[in-house]
Subunit: 252 residues, 2 copies
């Protein structure tokens, strides 16, 4: 059954609702739904309803909320991923995969070794496109939350932002090479439900040591972590961290 996010905070069971143009087009033209067909609808407050198509006049899909569902698809510790701006279209891929794996927010960071630079004029369009990728991935992954994609920030701005998180895990190859392998586990094991978590990963060239220093300065919530003995590419490290978090918090 298809899944659609709607802009309402909350809705009432048995009420009717007109889907917006884009969703209506997808339902009626792309999916060729007929009256009586059903969809999942997710509100902004993460409530999930089954909606039944009751009208398709003027190319607008009107649905009725016929059933409320108690679904919990989200990590109990929301994660923001700060990701060093990678090459090519890798950021799109990271946004898609991080959404599937449960991230709540993704913030691209222009790091010292980021080869890619964003033209300030085009940044808005890029974020818009990434936000759309997150929405599609959230629908496909059956999430109840669409992760938000933040504006590009500098390493310094990021160092300020991470102060507001309960725990920050930085994936740093240099400590992994020295055999560090306990910090990630320590953080995951001491997390409490509802705590805000940040993951920080570098671009292809890794972090500049100054960026690590900046993250650590005066911050006792920052753990510099190894991710096992193999060297992971820039786009693989966030997937490893999110998968490990799901394993530790949702399966273990």
């Amino acid at each position: 059954m298809q899944r659609y996010f709607i802009d309402e905070e909350t809705v009432t069971l048995n009420a009717n609702y007109q889907m917006d143009k884009e969703a209506s087009h997808h339902m009626l033209t792309v999916m060729r739904m007929q009256t009586g067909d059903k969809i999942y609808v997710v509100t902004k407050s993460q409530q999930v309803f089954i909606g039944e198509l009751i009208d398709n006049q003027n190319k607008i899909a009107t649905i009725q909320f016929v059933e409320g569902l108690a679904e919990n698809k989200e990590l109990d510790t929301p994660v923001t991923l700060f990701v060093g701006l990678p090459k090519n279209d890798k950021l799109e891929w990271i946004v898609q995969k991080a959404t599937e794996l449960g991230a709540s927010q993704i913030v691209p960071v222009a790091m010292r070794y980021s080869v890619t630079k964003w033209d300030q004029k085009k940044a808005g369009k890029k974020i818009e496109r990434l936000q759309k990728i997150a929405q599609e991935a959230a629908e496909q992954a059956h999430r109840t939350l669409v992760p938000s994609v933040g504006n590009l920030v500098t390493s310094k701005e990021m160092a300020g932002m991470v102060q507001h998180f309960d725990q920050v895990c930085v994936a740093y190859e240099e400590v992994a090479k020295q055999g560090e392998k306990h910090r990630l586990v320590q953080v995951f094991e001491h997390l409490e439900s509802g705590q805000q978590l940040a993951f920080v990963t570098g671009p292809e060239g890794g972090f500049h040591p100054d960026e690590i220093t900046l993250l650590q300065e005066n911050h006792d919530n920052v753990a510099i972590c190894g991710l096992g003995p193999r060297i992971l590419r820039a786009e693989t490290a966030p997937m490893y961290m999110l998968s490990a978090l799901s394993y530790a918090r949702e399966l273990l």
Copy 2:
């Protein structure tokens, strides 16, 4: 420092060795190495040496093994990934990422819902290309083993092959939807070092129920596992399992 796999089972410290044409070309022409420059060399028996370039005559790189290293980059429970043939170039991507994340072997499986079909005549070329991707990824990930990419098998052949593994984890969306979330942990917690593990993941359309039945028949080493509450795409499920295994065996 660049890393190269050589075809020798084992080598002797201080001995000289001629790299093959391809590696020589990479060292001398692509990387423009000069005599005195150093590389990592990994033998077939997974020994790691530092090699120093001592001669570059006739476009062949001759090195001397100047130091032996005691490196352990491999999972202590070798994993074979049986992966339902996915669409487009996703298999290339899966081979690359599974190599980074520690798989020992990758076997593509023509499953009931695989949309892609391989032309028998071109299969050899495809495997060759995938094997090359695995080698490059293994070099980049600093592995001591290049995963082997097996020939395409049928679901029935796979069901026969998994009998020879100590433990088999099948990622099945339908059990995840019913809330299954303990099997993967149970398997990982009871693994013993050296045990052979198989992961089985489906193509975009998932498994046909008959394929699950076939895997389970008479096999008490097969665990049908959920991977958390979100629906993962075909290419994401193997990454989740490999990341979780590394977390459970190498960090936890």
